[in-house]
């Protein structure tokens, strides 16, 4: 067979789909974020579960992510178009339910984009400015850090960053692509600088002396005792590590699967979505794990946990940031400057990916004519969806306001809870696809129709993903330190937004039926061949 021709092709047009596996990976890495997620393992994970191996947590979380990524890649492969999750769930389960879930996800993603932008003045800038203040004894930088993290600072700088993100998303696609490209390599460069600083330190004594130089004599030696006195319980065991890993997957890696939301633009979606998502997961796991290996060469895990604990649970001045650790080892303008630029730039990139995928979800609603098609209007000169992007910018500004005032949405903390609940709908759809739509299943790409014995792999992995999602919801209640404390207000907010989505769908269907003579339900109806 190999010696013979397998396919004869005649001369004809060959227009193909768009984003490559590399492109999908770049989007995934940006949405995970080389900056914000890069801080979490060292400043947060280590302090919430003192003693849990950071690499162990990263690994368990990454492995769970592989299952979830497979499920979402299958969703995109089964329905390779914008808003694939909504499109699949609307065709397999119920259009109104699917829209309600998609509505919550898109609205909350827009708001969270603002919450993430607020991270720039709220955490990233203060951390970096304090580093500059400490390293170069610069009071102005320290004062700026304090102002940046204040409600006014968050509002002013956050709004400026929303406007910047909005403006960049209005640029021609080629320019946006270049901005993301630069961000990807700047992010990698920032990590390379961190690696260099950590790897070239001679040993633990060098770190201790650098720390004491900038944080005060004897400071290094006192951190563990201070944390233990404050209540830290250090318990290095595998069970805690696994538990932490089971919880932290979305907090660290959320975003690897976002190309599914624009699967219609991914070339060979059946292959590249999975490659892109898994690559993004594995690459970020490698980056963060390598940093941990290098850091633990210099400081014990207990010390990292203690510094994080002091920052998160006490008023003691603490700097549990990997960027700071690297900066004190190489206290020069170039190192600090490169890290600062890389960190802030990739945070803007992170917001851009949220703007991008949310706009694609909105496209899918507009294409199904649930919302006015004008919302998906693409400007002819810049070829960007100006109305959708502007709407997302408004949502993002609400997110900034919320972050500045610590309002009812508390977007960053509650996003995982909201996102996970909405994901149940499309994940259930792909899990049940082989049974509810056997014809679609049989003609779907191999990733979707693969079987393990007689059991469809999407059903098996979909079920594992559903259990994982269920656990994530439960964990939000069991571990309020992580989930942000899901109270009645949060649940009511979710229900309210969901019900508004349902109302929008029902109203739109009635309008189209009465005014235009078309039933939106036709969009989703199966068409059997004659």
């Amino acid at each position: 067979m190999s010696a013979t021709q397998r396919l004869f092709v005649r001369q004809s047009s060959g227009l193909v789909r768009t984003i490559s596996a590399f492109g999908a990976m770049v989007f995934g890495v940006h949405c995970i974020s080389l900056s914000s997620s890069g801080l979490i393992p060292f400043s947060w994970v280590a302090s919430v579960w003192p003693g849990a191996s950071i690499i162990g947590v990263l690994t368990v979380a990454m492995i769970l992510g592989l299952f979830h990524a497979y499920t979402y890649a299958s969703i995109g492969a089964a329905m390779p178009r914008s808003g694939a999750d909504y499109v699949l769930a609307s065709r397999i389960l119920n259009p109104t339910l699917a829209f309600g879930a998609s509505w919550v996800l898109a609205l909350f993603s827009g708001v969270v984009a603002g919450g993430l932008i607020a991270w720039i003045p709220g955490t990233a800038l203060p951390t970096l400015l304090r580093t500059i203040g400490i390293l170069f004894d610069n009071q102005t930088a320290t004062d700026l850090a304090t102002w940046s993290a204040s409600p006014t600072g968050i509002l002013v700088i956050g709004t400026a960053c929303v406007l910047l993100t909005w403006a960049t998303m209005l640029l021609p696609t080629q320019t946006i692509v270049r901005i993301l490209e630069v961000g990807f390599f700047l992010g990698l460069a920032a990590w390379a600088v961190i690696y260099f600083a950590l790897a070239t330190a001679s040993g633990p004594e060098a770190f201790q002396s650098a720390w004491d130089r900038f944080m005060g004599a004897g400071s290094f030696a006192s951190r563990i005792d201070l944390a233990l006195q404050a209540g830290m319980e250090y318990s290095p065991n595998v069970a805690i590590m696994t538990l932490a890993g089971l919880i932290m997957g979305f907090w660290i890696y959320y975003g690897y699967y976002i190309p599914t939301f624009f699967a219609g633009e991914v070339k060979e979606a059946h292959r590249n979505l999975l490659i892109g998502a898994w690559s993004a997961l594995i690459i970020t796991w490698l980056i963060f794990s390598a940093a941990d290996l290098l850091l633990e060469r210099l400081v014990p895990l207990e010390w990292i946990a203690a510094e994080g604990y002091l920052y998160n649970n006490t008023d003691t001045f603490a700097m549990p940031w990997i960027t700071f650790y690297a900066s004190i080892l190489r206290p020069n303008v170039l190192v600090v400057g490169l890290i600062t630029i890389g960190w802030v730039y990739t945070l803007i990139n992170l917001a851009q990916t949220y703007f991008f995928y949310t706009s694609r979800i909105i496209f899918s609603w507009a294409f199904d004519r649930i919302i006015p098609s004008g919302i998906a209007y693409v400007h002819p000169r810049v070829a960007s969806p100006v109305v959708a992007v502007t709407l997302i910018a408004i949502l993002a500004e609400i997110g900034v306001l919320d972050a500045a005032t610590r309002g009812i949405l508390a977007t960053q903390l509650h996003f995982v809870f909201f996102a996970v609940i909405t994901q149940i709908v499309p994940v259930l759809a792909i899990t049940l696809l082989p049974f509810l739509k056997p014809d679609l299943f049989e003609t779907a790409p191999r990733i979707v129709r693969a079987k393990l014995g007689s059991l469809p792999v999407v059903t098996l992995i979909g079920a594992i993903t559903l259990v994982y999602l269920g656990w994530m919801i439960l964990a939000s209640f069991l571990f309020p330190a992580v989930g942000g404390g899901i109270g009645r207000g949060t649940i009511l907010t979710f229900l309210l937004i969901f019900l508004i989505g349902i109302a929008v769908h029902v109203a739109s269907r009635l309008y189209r039926l009465r005014r235009e003579g078309v039933d939106l339900a036709w969009t989703f109806r199966e068409i059997p061949p004659v």
């Binding site: 067979m1 010696a3 013979t4 021709q5 397998r6 396919l7 004869f8 092709v9 005649r10 001369q11 004809s12 047009s13 060959g14 227009l15 193909v16 789909r17 768009t18 984003i19 490559s20 590399f22 492109g23 990976m25 770049v26 390779p80 065709r91 696609t173 080629q174 692509v177 270049r178 993301l180 490209e181 630069v182 990807f184 219609g264 633009e265 070339k267 294409f367 199904d368 004519r369 098609s373 998906a376 002819p380 070829a383 003609t443 779907a444 790409p445 191999r446 189209r512 235009e516 003579g517 078309v518 039933d519 939106l520 036709w522 969009t523 109806r525 068409i527 059997p528 061949p529 004659v530």
Partner: protein, 318 residues
């Protein structure tokens, strides 16, 4: 005048499943007319290699075998559903055809003629009893010899290429042109822009009420959002930047100029599979339904016309 419903689709590229779904959609949604925007024929032919009394084929990279008649029939159906032609042959014949492009083209011709003839019979069989006409044009990927097959039109199947047809008792005029502007692949019906413009003007000028004309042209108007495709370099490779594919408008400037000048009621287009949508150019609603023929998914549009205007429209897929 009462509501006149069109079910429109395009770019089936020989997918048997998609064509059958399209006919079914016309019946399900009680269309008054079915319209097809070209590119009916397939791009590839799969050799069904006879080896030791069984058949082997590779479809989308997956090796498949058939031993019994039933299995062979199923394999043929699978090949047809993704838009390929199947041809039984020995390994020696496969090698021969691989080395002789002219003979290979004859195989394509046989496959195209056989399928198109069967499709027209199928359409006749299902649509004629309901009195639903099927209007179609070829697309740039359709070889010129398909005109002969489409030319055997009956009252219920009409090739509209370079013609004007009255619809709904003369309330609307359907104007067809089954071509595209020049593509890098130099397809059989790639025309220079000047020729497209001239032809469209000649077709539209005699129409008494252009505001009730429906323009059925395979290629969409330039830079309309319905014609966005990957940018290619001179070697026909996709251009990337930062890991992303660069996109650009590739539609016809002539089609755009004509639409902007004559402002027909509706523009029905295909050609660019990855750029489906509905866009207004002035008062003209332009439609490209896109295509997912390889996945066996029908992409179509329902368009309701009433009193000389577009009352409503809806994309459907299934």
């Amino acid at each position: 005048m009462k509501l006149f419903r069109i079910v429109y689709s395009s770019d089936f590229h020989a997918s048997e499943l998609v064509f059958r779904k399209f006919l079914s959609a016309g019946l399900m949604y009680q269309a008054q007319a079915l319209v097809v925007g070209g590119d009916l024929t397939g791009k590839a032919l799969v050799p069904l290699i006879r080896v030791d009394g069984r058949y082997e084929a590779v479809i989308a990279g997956v090796r498949r075998e058939a031993e019994t008649e039933a299995e062979l029939k199923q394999l043929r159906r699978l090949i047809a559903n993704v838009g390929y032609y199947a041809q039984e042959m020995t390994p020696d014949e496969a090698r021969y055809y691989a080395e002789h492009p002219a003979e290979q083209l004859q195989l394509f011709r046989r496959g195209i003629e056989e399928q198109l003839t069967r499709w027209l019979e199928l359409a006749e069989q299902h649509l004629r009893p309901r009195g639903i006409p099927l209007y179609l044009i070829p697309g740039n990927d359709d070889p010129l010899f398909v005109d002969e097959i489409l030319g055997h039109s009956s009252s219920s199947i009409v090739n509209v290429d370079r013609r004007r047809i009255e619809l709904a008792g003369g309330e609307y005029t359907l104007v067809g042109l089954g071509v595209s502007n020049e593509t890098p692949w130099r397809c059989p019906r790639d025309w220079p822009e000047e020729r497209i413009e001239l032809e469209l003007r000649q077709l539209l000028q005699p129409v008494p009420a252009c505001e009730r004309a429906i323009l059925l042209v395979h290629v969409p108007p330039y830079d309309s959002g319905l014609d966005t495709a990957p940018a290619l370099d001179q070697e026909l490779r996709i251009r990337y930047a930062g890991g992303q594919v660069l996109m650009e408008p590739v539609g016809s400037r002539a089609v755009r100029r004509v639409i902007e000048e004559f402002q027909p009621l509706l523009g029905l287009h295909g050609h660019i599979h990855e750029s489906p949508g509905f866009r207004k150019l002035g008062r003209t609603l332009c439609v490209n339904v896109g295509s997912e023929y390889a996945e066996g998914i029908l992409r179509a549009a329902i368009v309701n016309l009433e009193r000389g205007r577009v009352k409503g429209y809806l994309p459907i897929s299934g």
